[in-house]
Symmetry: C2
């Protein structure tokens, strides 16, 4: 035996999620089986609802319930600055700080030749189209300091320079509250490289 077929199918579905291995998938499936049926139905429905009600913003490619999204259509946002991120979840991380009041552009990925993702596979062309709008004064690149993030940042800065628009990149360094002793070498190197005069 081992598993009834319907449980095996459920475990297989859970296992498709990122960073969910066979053990976690099994644990999640068993947890679900102990939930009341009404709860399971609500969860199932919420997945379909979220999928059906989520649109991709035609301007910035943010995931949202409307297109253009709430940020692009808000009169309160500063339309002179565009912050470029890889994914919607990065946008949300920045929104949570309540510090940034400009617009966004969600690339929907990073250039990654290893994974066969080239410049045409992400929303670079659409970003450049937005730059022809003369209101745009600054582009902030908020891509992670990975190989793919570095490559994409470099590529973008080359393409954006001819527009004569200010380009900046978010700072990398020691996280607030972190102990220098426990920081990894690359972070320390980035922190030294990005030092500021006092």
């Amino acid at each position: 035996m081992i598993y009834p077929k319907s449980i095996a199918a459920l475990i297989e579905h859970f296992q498709k999620f990122p960073s969910v291995g066979p053990k976690s998938a099994q644990r999640m499936a068993f947890y679900l089986l102990r939930m009341p049926l009404t709860e399971v139905e609500k969860f199932a429905q919420s997945m379909i609802d979220a999928k059906q009600n989520t649109k991709t913003c035609e301007i910035c490619f943010n995931m949202s319930s409307s297109s253009p999204c709430e940020i692009c259509s808000s009169p309160q946002r500063d339309k002179s600055t565009i912050c470029v991120v890889a994914e919607t979840k990065d946008l949300i991380a920045i929104e949570k700080t309540n510090e940034y009041k400009g617009l966004y552009h969600v690339l929907q990925g990073l250039i990654s030749p290893m994974d066969g993702i080239g410049a045409d596979d992400i929303r670079i062309k659409e970003l450049l189209n937005r730059l022809t709008d003369e209101n745009v004064k600054e582009i902030i690149l908020a891509l992670s300091p990975s190989v793919e993030g570095e490559a994409t940042s470099l590529y973008l800065s080359k393409l954006i320079k001819p527009f004569g628009i200010k380009i900046s990149r978010i700072a990398f360094g020691l996280p607030v509250g972190a102990d220098l002793e426990y920081a990894d070498e690359i972070t320390i190197a980035k922190a030294i490289e990005g030092r500021r005069e006092l």
Copy 2:
């Protein structure tokens, strides 16, 4: 803003699962939103199917597609031995070894006064009822070596002794392939305690 309502609801559902924190729940929700709608629908349906097709075995309380379950109703299984486990997933872990050919009894929990789970809240009464069947010759307690597992094992062994049935407990010690140097103190203590003469 932060999240559209339907995405927030989905994240909240994912977060209910054990060992899924806010970050993992968010990652899973976004992964789901990038899946094609047909895939999402299949996943949603598989949850409902699994829940609806899963029964609890009336004899051993295993989760199964039938009751009595495949194990209880199999003529190949040795009916003289009952292995007592806390959860169906423990049963599955033992089944995967292909070593054990007896029956099971799934307690559906462990005694845990801290969580308000007493002896009457798990399937102990039903286990004792099974012991009146004279075929049963041995009970193997396969409960984890946690405080709750120890308490439940102790309690069960006291209740089972009067039946004059052999009781054993699975061995605890160093896992195969493990390095003594990296094992935790409790495991080493258990390994020494459970030593066998050569």
